[in-house]
């Protein structure tokens, strides 16, 4: 563990060295990430110019959910950016190099694809959430900070677990699957209150690909929506279960992996 932390620091400094070699690009990318976050906010703002409720939810509540969602999302993309895992590690054969090294393979893959600049998403999330919280005049107890931390970490674990499992699919089939963009799009469903969807999608978002636990369910706790408390409390359980599942599939894949690439 200590070794991974030390490697983390080393990778971090290497990352900034390579990124800051092209300084202008680095800053433009920060701005465009911000723009991306704003797109969804603009969508919400524009829509609520025409309506005052979305299935009983107010504009500020929807903004709060979106703000919360951004925080685990940013942390997840920082550590589990496995978007081109198949291309980079399997097709080009980088995985063979990883496996000959003494640090845990998942930790290495995670460190090699780390993107620390995503941390800014946490700030924009906090800002958006804070804005909504003030408008809604939400009150917080001292332990809410603790609850918040636990919920965020659990959400990141859910994401991490799901994407680790998806990346691990590459060990079983070494052709391009295009499955990550698919899952990527499903997570868009999780940014809005799940009761606007039909039963099948709600079930899918809760138990199969539990992206509702990344934005909606945990936010419901802070929004004091008592009818969703059970789900909010389930978030840490789902986090542990899905991360364990992801790890299990990954390890299974490593055992099956025979090496590909040129």
């Amino acid at each position: 563990m200590l070794q991974v932390l030390r490697l983390f620091a080393d990778y971090l400094s290497q990352y900034f060295k390579t990124r800051l070699a092209y300084r202008a690009d680095f800053f433009v990318e920060l701005v465009s990430n911000l723009l991306f976050e704003l797109t969804n906010l603009v969508f919400i703002l524009v829509v609520f110019q025409h309506v005052s409720f979305l299935h009983g939810w107010t504009r500020d509540e929807i903004i709060f959910i979106y703000g919360f969602f951004l925080i685990p999302f940013a942390l997840f993309t920082m550590f589990f950016d496995f978007w081109d895992f198949n291309e980079r590690f399997i097709i080009r054969g980088e995985m063979d190099r990883i496996l000959t090294r003494p640090v845990h393979h998942l930790a290495q893959v995670s460190l090699e694809s780390i993107s620390p600049d995503r941390i800014f998403g946490v700030f924009s999330g906090l800002l958006i959430m804070g804005y909504a919280a003030i408008r809604l005049e939400l009150s917080f107890a001292w332990y809410d900070l603790l609850v918040f931390a636990v919920l965020v970490v659990s959400s990141v674990m859910i994401y991490g677990g799901v994407y680790t499992a998806i990346a691990a699919i590459s060990f079983f089939s070494d052709s391009r699957t295009g499955i990550s963009p698919m899952i990527w799009n499903i997570q868009n469903y999780g940014r809005y209150p799940v009761n606007i969807y039909n039963g099948i999608i709600r079930f899918l978002l809760t138990w199969i690909l539990p992206f509702a636990f990344v934005g909606f369910y945990p936010s419901a706790y802070f929004l004091r929506k008592a009818e969703w408390y059970t789900y909010a409390l389930l978030t840490p359980v789902m986090g542990i279960v899905f991360f364990a599942l992801g790890l299990f599939v990954w390890n299974l894949g490593i055992k099956r992996y025979q090496g590909a690439g040129s």
Binding site: Y22, Q49, P181
Partner: protein, 264 residues
């Protein structure tokens, strides 16, 4: 000369055909996107007849059409140019006896045609089973839509070439290309018809080329643009397609002079 480009279009088309699994998952991705917006919009409309002059049926149809149009005009040639520049391949491309940017545009067309035939057409057939889509009633209306879509492709491709060529000056501009993609998706009317934006924003957007990429063809398809309005939209698109050639030509000239090969 013409045969060369036809061949480039054909080869890219066939390359796309080779990645079949990618293709199937692509269809599902578009389905999921349309589905998500379908539920979102029905929730937004809940109980209201019309919003910004559109009924919920028109709205869901609009979203479906907008995504299907995107299948045709969307491409990644800016990323391809950036990669050619980074890997130094562009030096070879530039001593070849045909214009590099036109080659890229031809490849983009091959990709667009593939997605249109294997993606948008079956996708639309599938969506029309669930959503009350109304197709353009006359051959003339179809013609107007297809012409508008082709112009949308031209404008989007020009924008992509522009951001791609900027790699020559910035050496690395992933950020800019990413920003361009986000801006085009938001301001072209893909996720939100332009008529939903507040008045001042619409006034600004009228002076930008983005709505020519998606809003115009989608409105023409949905029949929401009257006969004359459709003609005006197409004229405006043609105008943008020509205007954008100016910065592209200027930048490309300077880029060729400035070329620094970084490796490869």
């Amino acid at each position: 000369m013409y045969r060369l480009y036809a061949e480039l279009v054909r080869i890219r088309f066939l390359t796309m055909l080779a990645y079949r699994v990618n293709y199937y998952s692509g269809v599902i991705v578009y389905g999921i996107n349309i589905g998500a917006y379908y539920f979102l919009w029905t929730a937004i409309y809940a109980g209201q007849e019309t919003l910004a002059g559109m009924s919920v049926e028109q709205m869901t149809a609009y979203v479906a059409i907008a995504w299907m149009s995107r299948a045709f005009y969307f491409n990644n040639i800016d990323m391809e140019i950036a990669q050619d520049v980074r890997e130094g391949k562009v030096a070879i491309e530039m001593i070849r006896p045909y214009p590099y940017l036109l080659v890229k545009a031809a490849q983009a067309l091959g990709e667009g045609l593939f997605r249109l035939l294997f993606f948008a057409v079956p996708g639309m057939a599938l969506v029309s089973l669930f959503l009350p889509l109304t197709f353009p009633p006359t051959a003339e209306a179809w013609g107007a839509y297809l012409l508008s879509l082709l112009l949308a492709f031209l404008i989007n491709t020009e924008l992509n070439l522009l951001t791609g060529v900027l790699t020559f000056f910035f050496f690395r501009n992933d950020g800019l290309m990413w920003a361009k993609r986000v801006i085009v998706d938001l301001l072209s009317g893909l996720i939100l018809p332009i008529s939903f934006f507040p008045g001042w924003a619409q006034a600004v957007l009228n002076w930008l080329p983005f709505q020519a990429i998606n809003y115009f063809p989608s409105m023409i398809f949905a029949g929401a643009a009257a006969h004359r309005a459709a003609g005006e939209a197409i004229m405006l698109q043609a105008l943008w397609a020509v205007v954008l050639l100016v910065p592209l030509t200027v930048l490309w000239r300077r880029a060729r002079r400035n070329l620094i090969v970084q490796g490869g």
